[in-house]
């Protein structure tokens, strides 16, 4: 198995890591949360500028922490899709420059595939097939993991990502950014049954509802209307804890329900969870309880591997590297790329 240095700059974390045989030798993450918190969300151009100023420091720190030199690195990888184009370009340009300079193979990695591989770093025995529930600020998907590079998207959000819904609800409750951890903390002190909120179902043309797709924009609007109604009806402060608890319980319930149903329908016994929302206590409790009830296994990677990091990108790249997959130095970046098209990133597989 190979030793891979990987770079991740798809959104607001500048990250560099070295992974060898699925062991993290170093993982440096420089977060931009403070920079973007003023604006209530990620400002793409600001993110790109910050990546440029930070990436080379992260690079030298990662190599030093791994106690390796360039001769000991077998391949260089970077997230090339999906993500913010300007941000992706900083990481990919750095990685391609290193690959050219040291004459090493370059591998472009799909960001969502990286999140899937975070579970491999945490669970050595994990093997496909399994189901991955990917929930973050940019993505909400149920992915059928068949093998390295081979995925089927079984469910996804039709509008907002789950993490995005947390951010938007936090903003309308004037709680700050990022919304997930703040809402989770407040929810501990609130009553999840206090308010009934809609689950968000996707109607099918032939009748009925899509069994695995999600919609969170209606839920967000329902919270907005609830807040407006409460503000009109009462002079006392908003029951922010109860609203947070009710909102979180609804999100956790719908994510759990669809994922468990999908695993049962496809006869898949193992579920992994990736993305920043995997840290949410409501989701963890709900999904673990439901999985136990249905005799399914669920793995939650540690939080540092759930949020954006380069170790997960290196882990994915290592598997591709070992299978002989290589990207061209002419590989570009893409703001959107379906995970079913992962193999297009590698030469001779297009």
């Amino acid at each position: 198995m190979a030793t891979i240095l990987a770079i991740e700059t798809s959104c607001d974390e500048t990250a560099v890591a070295v992974v060898k045989k699925r062991k993290v030798l170093s993982s440096i993450v420089a977060s931009q949360i403070e920079l973007h918190s003023t604006y209530g969300g990620v400002v793409p151009e600001l993110a790109s500028r910050q990546h440029l100023e930070t990436i080379n420091y992260c690079l030298s720190e990662a190599l030093t922490a791994a106690k390796l030199n360039w001769q000991e690195i077998d391949g260089i990888a970077a997230t090339c899709a999906p993500g913010l184009v300007g941000a992706l370009l900083v990481g990919v340009t750095t990685a391609k420059t290193l690959a050219m300079l040291y004459n090493k193979p370059f591998l472009g990695v799909h960001h969502l595939e990286g999140h899937i591989y975070a579970s491999y770093l945490a669970q050595e025995q994990l093997k496909p097939p399994f189901l991955c529930l990917l929930v973050s600020g940019g993505h909400t998907s149920i992915i059928y993991v068949k093998d390295c590079g081979h995925y089927e998207m079984l469910g996804s959000t039709r509008d907002d990502a789950a993490g995005e819904a947390f951010d938007k609800v936090a903003r309308l409750l004037k709680l700050g950014y990022p919304g997930g951890p703040i809402i989770d903390k407040l929810a501990q002190q609130g009553n999840p049954q206090a308010f009934k909120l809609p689950e968000g179902k996707i109607s099918l043309p032939e009748g009925g509802y899509h069994p695995y797709d999600f919609s969170f924009s209606g839920l967000k609007t329902a919270v907005l209307r609830l807040v407006q109604k409460l503000e009109q009806e009462q002079d006392s402060p908003l029951p922010v804890e109860d609203i947070a608890a009710s909102f979180q319980a609804t999100v956790a319930k719908v994510l759990t329900k669809r994922t468990i149903q999908c695993a049962l329908d496809y006869g898949i016994n193992t579920i992994t969870v990736g993305g920043g929302v995997a840290a949410n206590s409501g989701l963890r409790e709900n999904l673990l309880a439901a999985a136990q009830k249905n005799n399914l296994e669920v793995y939650f990677p540690p939080l540092k591997l759930c949020t954006d990091n380069a170790a997960m990108i290196a882990c994915a790249a290592e598997d591709h590297f070992d299978r002989g997959h290589r990207s061209s130095l002419n590989l570009g970046v893409e703001s959107r790329l379906a995970i079913t098209k992962v193999m297009e990133l590698y030469q001779d597989y297009e």
Partner: protein, 225 residues
Amino acid sequence: MQTFNLNKYGLAFHTTTPQLGICLSNFVDNNRSQVWDLGRDLSVYLHKSLGEILQPQTWQDLQFIAVAKGPGGFTGTRIGVVAARTLSQQVNIPLFGISSLAAVALDYVKTNREISSESNNLNNRLLAVQMKARQEQLYVAIYQFVSKDNSLQTYIADTIMTLEEWQKTLANLDRSYQLIEAPNNLANTVPCVLELAYQQWQTGKLTTWQEVVPFYGQNPVNSSR
């Protein structure tokens, strides 16, 4: 003045507009320069083009790197600067971030000297360079050409102004000036980027990759300076 090792080379690249310009020179008898029209594919072909122009030299043959640091397109400028910073960091050689506007000014001097031998006329004359920016603003700078060593002295450093502010600045200058409008494509000024860096190298004013960041001029959030 530092003496340049004849076996060593300076490398410059210019990515602030949709063209890619690369120039390599030992400042004696080996100069190679090329411009590619790449548009949005600039990031895709940058490394292939760098590799092509470098041969038969190697990265270890470089004495310094220069990069056009803007003003210009944010994304294109960033691609060049991040590649230059990484090369400089890894090869452990100086990196010079050169103003796109300074390169335009020097290119103007060289072009006019070639066609009319008027470099003496340009001596001590101010060169006012302007380039279109977003939100109806202008990137501007004023330089003074010094003919004895073909150098530029900065009179007003790169900044951004409204047309009105710029016109007022020009009207208040105490001597004659030549107004230069930067063209849309600047990659053919890459030899001037290299020359300006070489002049800096000769004076011993070496800069490292940590010091070189793009000149954006505009804040992406409120468009203020």
